[in-house]
Symmetry: C2
Subunit: 392 residues, 2 copies
């Protein structure tokens, strides 16, 4: 398969050809896993500077909303999958009708594209009735005022789509603040924002689950997540959770994947609140930041698992091999320096660094550090120390 | 660095640029490790079909004995290293004088290029006096006859250079058989063959050690190896060995690395004989087949470790995370099929498959399977079962 003018051979045809829409760090790490299996990963990249391209994945340059390119990619692959949700669902639906194999499918992807739709679906439609934070769609400031009257200030405003890493998520303390946010715009048709209760959160965790087209699932033990200003900062595995909580969280995750016939890896994020509620926050039907910890902590990384799932291969072991913690490398200061400081970070015992070859910009994830140890606490200490060494 | 006409960018300059001479499976797996660190690996490949090229490493097409190409590669890299020993030592020595950073250096590489030189050196020259199997260089059949008179038939004939995976290693039962082998040629100047005593081997193992230019070393626990007809078939980690044996084997490995100022990862292979001797067999000053087991079994794979060592970065943890066994996928029958049978192999619990995208040919290693379990015995069972599934 040569979709661009780069010739690169392979003595033996790849075991499978997987097309991935997007070429960020998720595609980069998927490419690393694909090499193990002799899979050719072909990414749709915005730029030859994208992380998966730098890592050597085959690539086609173009945009995810280009229907012609998407069809070309799918035609040359056994399966098409995704490293982000900014995809044209109507095109993907048509392609599926035409015979393309797209996993997860458009109906499942729709959940990831629109937080309002996702919230509405999981909180009350059909067979699913999963508790989520109180929310209403926002057409204007009066909706926010009415919601705050019932739930109190502050409230959280979330963009329906396009938000990630803290972008599109704003905590507002009063109506004037809300008005300023709403004036700033937001994505999607109809109501562009959702308002949500501000929660007193005691714990956050993610359930990572893979599901194959044949209906098999594999669920990783819950991963502790720490978000700061909407950006995932730290992960720990394993974590202490009441068995009953694990059971509910896992069942709900399975309901979503089965309900929408989702395939591939998915991450479902949960809150536990001080008043004792377990609430579903968000979910992503693709490899996810919370799953980065599985590369070292588990027998099968989320990237290997995603490939196995979308190709309908047997799923891999999900047990924890060793306690671990991951800290995201977020370029929140201008003093970050990667090249000269990587060796300093690697001097911390049992630390594993992943750099994405993304230039540091404030608030941007440019890599992550996972440490292994005899306990998650010790692993977290190590990962934090190593992370700090990237900053002057 | 664009040495060929393939443009592939990187938003952020690589953390380091490493040139590797050779583009086989060792380079392929080194590339996977390089991605983690944001290192650009540039390989010198014989063909665009080579395993490291299929995996997406940057590449230049050419031969390892091309002095112009070697200089170009080194000039564009922070360090040059190797995936095989078929390199022109005189050119590398000149390049070092000119300022190129080459690791391991030419003096150490010379050991790997010539079994006779290596044997002679480690068994008696200088401070080293490491027991090796009895051997003499062979100029003709009379040398073999004289040797056999002292040590008995059968004897082992080994090509001085260029032999691997059983090629260039022949057990001969009598003089006519020896004459037939010698008539077949062999590599190198002067005596092209070495004759060696045939050993009653009770155990084989390898000591994998990394050494950095600053002089730090990191030694993996001994890896059990099983050779069949000169081809490494199976690996286990950890293995039971008397502490004193581990101590001697490790000290000898360290003596070699320090004695020749070798840098990077090295594998030293040992025999234990029925009559109680511990003998050094061979060694390789590069990533080695015996180290493949470290990818899953250890916190730091040999490929990560090799990069860290040649870049003089801190070395990584070498402890065993979980008992493991590796079985090489050797295409010894025409009924091997990789693509359709990979999912069957992956159905075996906790099995990890690495395919090199090399077309199956009799006796050729086309991949390996590592299994994890609670014991090496169970891991070996799993790895064998998974391996068998590739054959009809």
């Amino acid at each position: 398969m040569v979709l661009d003018d780069t010739y690169r051979g392979a003595e033996l045809a790849p075991v499978a050809r997987v097309a991935m829409v997007g070429a960020g760090q998720l595609a980069r790490m998927t490419h690393q896993a694909a090499i193990d299996y002799g899979i050719a990963l072909h990414v749709l990249a915005d730029s030859p500077d994208d992380p998966a391209v730098s890592a050597g994945a085959e690539f086609t340059l173009g945009h995810a909303d280009d229907a012609v390119l998407l069809r070309r990619l799918a035609a040359h692959a056994d399966v098409m999958t995704f490293d982000h949700e900014l995809v044209p669902l109507d095109v993907l639906r048509a392609m599926t009708t035409e015979g393309s194999v797209i996993r997860p499918g458009a109906d499942a992807l729709a959940l990831g594209c629109d937080k309002l739709f996702a919230r509405t679906v999981v909180s009350g439609l059909g067979d699913l009735s999963i508790p989520v934070p109180a929310f209403v769609p926002v057409s204007g400031a009066p909706d926010v005022a009415a919601f705050a009257e019932r739930h109190g200030w502050p409230v959280v405003l979330k963009s329906r789509s396009g938000g990630y890493d803290g972008r599109g998520v704003v905590v507002v303390d009063d109506l004037p603040a809300a008005e300023r946010v709403l004036a700033g715009g937001g994505g999607g048709d109809g109501p562009r924002w959702v308002v949500e209760e501000f929660l007193d959160i005691t714990m956050e965790f993610a359930v990572l689950m893979a599901r194959s087209p044949s209906g098999f699932t594999a669920t990783y033990p819950p991963i502790g997540t720490l978000q700061v200003e909407g950006i995932c900062r730290e992960l720990t595995l394993p974590i202490d959770l009441p068995e009953e909580v694990v059971h509910r969280a896992t069942s709900w995750a399975r309901s979503i994947l089965e309900g929408f016939d989702a395939t591939g890896i998915a991450a479902v994020e949960y809150f536990m609140t001080r008043d004792g509620r377990l609430l579903l926050n968000e979910f992503a039907l693709r490899p996810h930041n919370s799953g980065h910890i599985t590369i070292e902590a588990c027998a099968t990384s989320q990237f290997h698992q995603h490939l196995r799932a979308v190709l309908d291969w047997p799923l891999g072991e999900v047990g924890v091999v060793r306690p671990a913690a991951t800290v995201n490398l977020i370029a929140d200061t201008s003093t970050m320096e990667l090249a000269s400081r990587l060796p300093l970070a690697l001097a911390v015992p049992d630390v594993h660094v992943h750099l994405y070859q993304k230039a540091p910009r404030p608030g941007r994830k440019v890599g992550h550090v996972t440490a292994l140890a005899d306990s998650t606490g010790e692993a977290l200490d190590r990962a934090r120390v190593a992370t700090e060494r990237f900053f002057g």
